[in-house]
């Protein structure tokens, strides 16, 4: 009997969570299209999410590109000689389609999602959210909407830069370590690169940016109970946005390339 009650409680808590998240998303989206909007706050969030994430995302991208080139070369060498063409192909396809958006998304989830949850969570437990309401300012408009807009717009930009840096990383390893012909590598990269690869990656990035901001704000907004609650909100933001990123990564891939 107790065991059944436990199952019931877990299921109910889960459903309650989904319901709250759905309501939160709906409210936030409806505030996105209704004035007033705060350009100043959107700008600040864009700088925070876009500009200050560049070093982290750039480093992730360059090492991913480098290791991709190295791994695919040594891996392909087992099967066939003359796998030089394939290296450029593998690097550009896997970076633009998969690794660029996913790795950038996960890094930004750790960096930005956590800080959003901690900031809004602290505002919740110190009554700053209530103070916003009493000053006739809607917390959704003032806090959530700027983050959602900035996240959705900035992640594609970050991923676009990450794609370029990652391909450059692959180029560096291929040319300087593996001794490929640089001109041939570049022309191979151009030949293999399809616009759809890049576009699908950027669409993913936009969705991931939305997810990161949404989960960061949602976790913070619903945090309770002081420092411990804020800590739990931060963890929740990073874990849930990472899982959602990986889930939506599959769904979007299926939509673009699934037959």
């Amino acid at each position: 009997m107790n065991f059944l009650a436990l199952i019931g409680r877990v299921v109910l808590a889960f459903l309650g969570h989904i319901g709250r998240l759905t309501l939160f998303t709906g409210t936030a989206l409806s505030h996105c299209v209704r004035p007033p909007i705060y350009p100043r706050l959107i700008g600040r969030q864009m700088i925070d999410i876009g500009y200050y994430s560049l070093p982290v995302v750039g480093l992730t991208a360059i090492f991913s590109g480098m290791v991709l080139a190295l791994q695919s070369y040594t891996g392909f060498a087992r099967f066939a000689a003359g796998s030089e063409n394939a290296v450029a192909n593998v690097v550009v396809v896997s970076l633009t389609r998969e690794l660029g958006p996913v790795l950038a998304g996960l890094m930004v989830a750790g960096r930005i999602g956590a800080s959003m949850a901690a900031e809004i969570g602290t505002m919740r437990v110190t009554e700053q959210l209530d103070a916003l309401t009493t000053l006739s300012t809607n917390p959704y408009k003032y806090l959530v909407v700027p983050r959602l807009i900035a996240g959705t717009l900035m992640l594609p930009l970050l991923v676009f830069i990450a794609d370029i840096i990652g391909i450059f990383g692959g180029f560096v390893v291929s040319v300087y370590k593996l001794g490929f012909n640089p001109a041939a590598y570049i022309s191979n990269t151009y030949d293999f690169m399809q616009p759809l690869d890049v576009i699908s990656g950027l669409v993913k990035a936009g969705v991931f940016g939305f997810i990161i901001a949404l989960m960061g704000c949602y976790s913070g907004y619903h945090s309770k109970g002081g420092a411990q609650g804020v800590g739990a909100a931060t963890t929740n933001a990073v874990v849930s946005s990472s899982i959602l990123i990986l889930t939506f990564n599959y769904i979007i891939t299926e939509l673009f390339f699934g037959t």
Binding site: A131, T134, S136, T137
Partner: protein
């Protein structure tokens, strides 16, 4: 204050109830506050005093009952109209609840810039004027809230609450956590900034010294109900054993602290 000239109470609560789960926090609260009157609700910690204020402001929704502001039932208004009702309100939070991402002056000017669309330059001038009213210099306006002491934060919170020239101000434990001298400074500021301006005030506190000083009327919340209501001068001879125990701060009496569990 002259409360007979205005027949419509500024704030009127009728049979307001609010529960959290199985716990009934407000169990039929009825209270009228006249224009310009300063009412203090006393009561122990965790008796739902904050819930009472938050229900009026609309941060929490009452389960049932009627809450009227200027005769208008605010439990029925739409979210958009709610913001215009909230324009009449100012609130000083227990922990001041200053926005720590903004400098002090922007905290004070926040309502002016957000609801009245005042320019930053103009709003800053008003903020500095308001800071002066609570005895803080213009230099303080440039500091971050985290650089201020607790008493200064409370004063900035008071400045933020009065900056928008509200008709009603709520004080959530205005003197809690302050030393007795700073607490009295806050009491004096409340009298000079609120009572003398004819602003209606609803405060909650368990600091009897503060209650005696700032209140026209005192009422006591116990187990979700207002069990006593009278002039501030009568609080020491209320004849109500609950109020007497609270006023004298005695562990002996009809109110039993729930220390078991």
């Amino acid at each position: 204050m002259n409360s007979t000239e205005n027949t419509v109470p500024k704030i009127s609560l009728k049979d307001v109830k609010k529960s959290f789960g199985a716990k009934r926090v407000l169990d039929g609260v009825t209270l009228d506050i006249a224009k310009g009157e300063s009412v203090v609700v006393i009561g122990g910690s965790g008796t739902g005093k904050s819930v009472l204020i938050k229900s009026i402001i609309g941060i929490l929704l009452a389960d049932s009952g009627i809450i009227k502001v200027d005769g208008e039932d605010v439990t029925q208004v739409q979210a958009s109209a709610r913001e215009s009702v909230n324009r009449k309100f100012g609130m000083l939070f227990q922990g001041a609840a200053l926005f720590d991402s903004l400098p002090v002056w922007e905290n004070v000017a926040f309502g002016l810039m957000q609801r009245e669309r005042m320019s930053r330059k103009h709003a800053k001038e008003r903020a500095i004027e308001t800071l002066a009213k609570v005895g803080l210099s213009a230099e303080v306006g440039e500091l971050a809230p985290s650089e201020l002491s607790g008493g200064m934060q409370k004063r900035v919170g008071l400045a933020r609450a009065i900056a928008g020239e509200p008709e009603i101000i709520f004080f959530d434990e205005p003197t809690t956590g302050l030393d007795p001298i700073m607490a009295d400074v806050i009491n004096d500021l409340i009298i000079s900034c609120v009572k003398q301006q004819g602003i209606t005030a609803l405060s909650i506190t368990h600091d009897m010294h503060s209650a005696r000083k700032i209140a026209d009327r005192v009422t006591m919340l116990y187990e979700g109900k207002l069990i006593w209501d009278g002039a501030a001068a009568d609080v020491d001879r209320s004849g109500n054993p609950y109020v007497e125990q609270f006023v004298h701060g005695s562990a002996e009496g009809p109110i039993k602290m729930q220390v078991r569990r």
